[in-house]
Amino acid sequence: MGCPTTPRLLLIGALLLGSAQATVRPATLGKLLDLSEAVIIARVVHQETQATTSPLEIFTDTHLIVERAVAGVKLSGSLILRQRGGQAAAAGEVYTQKIFGQARLNPGERVLLFLERASAGNLVIAGMAQGKYLIEVDPKSGVEMARRDLSDVYVLQHRGEVITPPGLPTDQDFMPLDDLLALLRGGLRPAASVAVEPIRPMGARR
């Protein structure tokens, strides 16, 4: 991130809303972490779509409020992600551009995003749809869950059966947010001795 401490950043990206298809390499959480310049939890507050003509180009700006910097560059404040695509009027016609595989951001969503700096210099969501987790509270348990939607991504993988040792999450697309954060911290990786984290509770507990 060019200006990591600047409250408001304009990120010019090629993040596509709507429809286009993408074939991607599978990105494990470790890979996403490696790719990412920053990992944030943010809320989508607003979107604007604009179009140009000759040639027709459609872009959507998504405004995000950063709630928490999870890893990498400590982003804060608000962000604007520019993505190619969306729906806009041009030359008397309404056009829709959709790029399948891209992470779709919708106003009101609370999301965990892996942000990768593309070689063109812009920030994009790492791994396309793989780099976005939608955070929602499970109405039954009250637990915050992190879910990602990979239905638009064509994942190029021919790895065969994957074995997961007990105690580790087998589904990386849907898990409690705390588990995801623990994975990103490395807290769930096997270790000989477990780090004990001092805590300072406030006030009486009775």
Binding site: T23, Q97, K98, G101, V124, Y154, T164, I199
Partner: protein, 560 residues
């Protein structure tokens, strides 16, 4: 390119259930018309231009072959047009060897633009040559770690036709490619999708057979997120990464090599994973940790109120399971922390755990009078002999000490029948019976009391015993009240009979201690002489079995 009017009627026909999924936008053309596309002059640097172009054209041709569909892509030659995602009405294929502009893990991206009628206007495909290597997968080609252009291309062209991802495994439009050149061959579902969107009325061809997958080549500890492992290995997910692993016997880490260990998969089999061997068990919420890791979603925390680290987790909407309290942390956030642990004198039966600095003592001398269960409470050690009020220092053996709850010490038990004790360390305070009562029938060992006694009183014919108690002669001058006994003839009650408040133990045959009038109490004299002291003091000379024990002192608990 022919831009054709929307065919909304056709779109409406697509509500029937199929495994293939239409994207909601299609090309609008009639039989015989074609959809032109052009290819940029610059293709992959990984192979000859001719081979790369052949594979790009094959990507379109697999769809053109369908006799049951009107699809007709037409190659219109090469172009300098490098645009992607621009609605210029040109369907362009480009290759990006630099300035990819999207996530590096993306291999190819297709952009679709359609109008308000759902009619596709522009489809561009770009391939990522900057971050990936490509191949035509012809005989003799280097295919290791390379991507098949035609497989990715056929999938992208399927999208360019308006097909979304299929729900049928192994279909070209299935969102997971199984590798090699398998994406080139259309499955029955792919064919049905294309022929439903663009029906020609022609014969539906049989699905093409997938090529046989070659053996994997990825070696031990190498990334297998996209490719298969070499024979004898398998792909392992360690939570963050996927890499090729091998079988091992639990506990046998050597076979896994440096910086790896054998993780348990089943009680009898394991897999080599990266890192250092963890403990074999994972702690649940509230379980002690440090030597063991915590289960998924829990953190091993050091809580100042506890002597040991334990696994704690986040609150759920401010709530926590039983025995846990959602507690705000000074550093922000909150966690489900263990409920405040018991301290001095508080019961620790349930968990055997006490606050930091305390031990959980099982005290048989303070057993419940009804159930006989020993009292279990938190207390401190007393190396210097000092104990809180109401407790006394005892030896637990092996040099260990504890402040034992001194039964009834310091309390006045004013009613006949109430239990009592004597404290050999502070016999001036004892017996604990108040109101001029006697403490009798207690038993003493060399290290202190071993059985409790009960409070009673002297009696005469005028000073009656409570109901149910009789006045047994001790001397011709006075007697002593005993439960369940009858009055001795010389002390038959002639006055009022107070009712006892508490149940007294059944009297046993023992000598009755004589009150010490100088002490102002009816304390039985402590005896130094085991031979006759018992007879006079009511103290048993039997060796004292130390009935105290540590129930738990920071013992780890396991919750599976």
């Amino acid at each position: 390119m022919k831009l054709i009017k929307a065919s909304s009627a056709l779109l409406l026909c697509l509500s029937v259930a199929h495994a293939f999924v239409p994207s909601g936008s299609i090309w609008d053309f009639t039989t015989g018309e074609t959809i032109p596309f052009i290819v940029n002059h610059t293709l992959s640097e990984d192979l000859e231009d001719e081979a790369a172009l052949e594979m790009v054209l094959l990507s379109y041709d697999v769809w053109n072959r369908l006799t049951c569909a009107t699809i007709e892509w037409s190659y219109e030659g090469r172009t300098d047009n490098f645009g992607w995602g621009e609605g210029d009405g040109l369907n362009v294929v480009t290759w990006r060897e630099s300035n990819w502009g999207d996530s590096s893990v993306a291999l190819g991206i297709t952009s679709l633009i359609w109008d308000s009628g759902g009619s596709l206007q522009d489809t561009d495909i770009k391939f990522n040559g900057e971050h990936h290597q490509w191949s035509a997968f012809r005989e003799g080609d280097n295919t290791v770690g390379r991507i098949d252009i035609a497989s990715v291309g056929a999938h992208e062209v399927g999208h360019a036709l308006g097909l979304d991802h299929s729900e049928v495994a192994n279909a070209t439009m299935w969102p997971t490619d199984l590798g090699g050149t398998m994406g080139r061959s259309l499955s029955a579902d792919d064919i049905e999708g294309a022929c439903t969107l663009y029906p020609s009325g022609g014969e539906v061809p049989a699905p093409e057979e997938d090529p046989i997958l070659e053996e994997g080549t990825i070696q031990y500890d190498e990334d297998c997120s996209a490719e298969r492992c070499a024979p004898g290995l398998f792909c392992l997910n360690d939570g963050l990464d996927l890499y090729c692993s091998q079988r091992c016997a639990p506990g046998d880490d050597e076979i896994c090599g440096e910086n790896h260990y054998c993780a348990t998969l089943t009680p009898t089999s394991g897999a080599c994973v990266r890192g250092v061997a963890p403990a074999t068990q994972l702690g649940g919420l509230g379980d002690e940790c440090g030597a063991v890791a915590c289960q998924l979603g829990l953190r091993c925390v050091s809580d100042p109120e506890f002597a040991y680290a334990y696994c704690a987790g986040a609150c759920a909407n401010g709530t926590c399971p039983t025995d846990f309290v959602c507690t705000a942390l000074e550093d922000g956030g909150d966690m489900c922390l263990r409920a405040p642990p018991p301290t001095q004198g508080e019961d620790c039966t349930a968990e055997g755990l006490c606050a930091h600095g305390y031990i959980c003592l099982q005290d048989a001398l303070n057993a419940d009078q009804i159930t006989g269960e020993p009292a279990t409470y938190c207390t401190v050690t007393c190396a210097d002999g000092a104990c809180p009020d109401g407790f006394r220092c005892i030896s637990l053996g092996g040099g260990s000490t504890a402040c034992e709850m001194a039964p009834f010490a310091g309390e006045n038990h004013d009613e006949v029948g109430e239990p009592c004790w004597i404290d050999p360390e502070e016999d001036w305070r004892e017996p604990s019976c108040g109101g001029g009562l006697l403490c009798v029938e207690y038993q003493m060992g060399s290290d202190g009391p071993t059985e409790r006694g009960y409070c009673t009183k002297t009696c005469t014919a005028d000073d009656c015993c409570p109901d149910g108690w009789g006045c047994l002669e001790v001397t011709p001058v006075f007697g002593q009240c005993q439960d369940g006994a009858s009055d001795s003839p010389g002390f038959a009650c002639g006055g009022a009979e107070p009712a006892p408040d508490a149940e007294a133990p059944t009297p046993v045959d023992a000598a009755i201690p004589e009150p010490d009038p100088d002490a102002g109490l009816t304390a039985p004299p402590a005896s130094d002489d085991g031979d006759d002291g018992c007879a006079q003091s009511g103290v048993s000379p039997a060796p004292l079995p130390l009935l105290l024990g540590l129930l738990a002192l920071g013992l780890p608990r396991r919750r599976r």
